[in-house]
Symmetry: C2
Subunit: 106 residues, 2 copies
């Protein structure tokens, strides 16, 4: 779903990735990490899609909440397994959302 | 592919969308708009994935290049058809990428 974020400014973490062929436990871990992220202070929402590449954008109140999530112990373990097993390559971009607009068909 | 963007800062346009069931001409127009975007001043790259939702992130040098692309005549026609035919809903977020990092498996 499209994340229902509050009025800008807020932060986006754009995570773009290419997977390896190794699937062992990826979906479970991915699901678990989203559920864990939702419980963190400053978490505002997440959007995710994958075909040839995967793009996951998580939204956060500020840089401090992003830093705390990055250093979350369970998340650090997941990220280590990501580098070892699941991802061929990825790029993470930290960006400040300055404004946004939306459309909904009636 | 993961976009090979230059050193931050630069801008990201995060376009998250839910499609209608109407397909007429969408793929052609989508492809054409990416090719047209590549020709614009300040364009730095684009990443796109779709399953239940679609996420397209385009990267730009600055806000001025984003504004010019938004007002490009062919792009305006495509965006109008998007609202009329192809998209049930979408959200566009304009964000300044402050820093980034990447991983590549050896």
């Amino acid at each position: 779903m499209i994340a229902n974020t509050p009025q800008a400014p807020y932060y986006a973490v754009i995570f773009t990735s290419i997977r390896t062929a190794h699937d062992n436990g990826y979906d479970d871990m991915s699901h678990k990490m989203v559920e864990l992220a939702r419980q963190q202070d400053g978490f505002l929402g997440v959007e995710s899609a994958r075909d040839e590449i995967g793009i996951t954008v998580s939204y956060w109140k500020d840089l401090d909440s992003i830093r705390k999530w990055k250093n979350n112990a369970e998340h650090m373990i997941a990220r280590k397994r990501g580098r070892e097993i699941w991802y061929q390559s990825f790029k993470t971009r930290i960006a400040k959302v300055e404004f946004d607009y939306e459309f909904e068909k009636i």
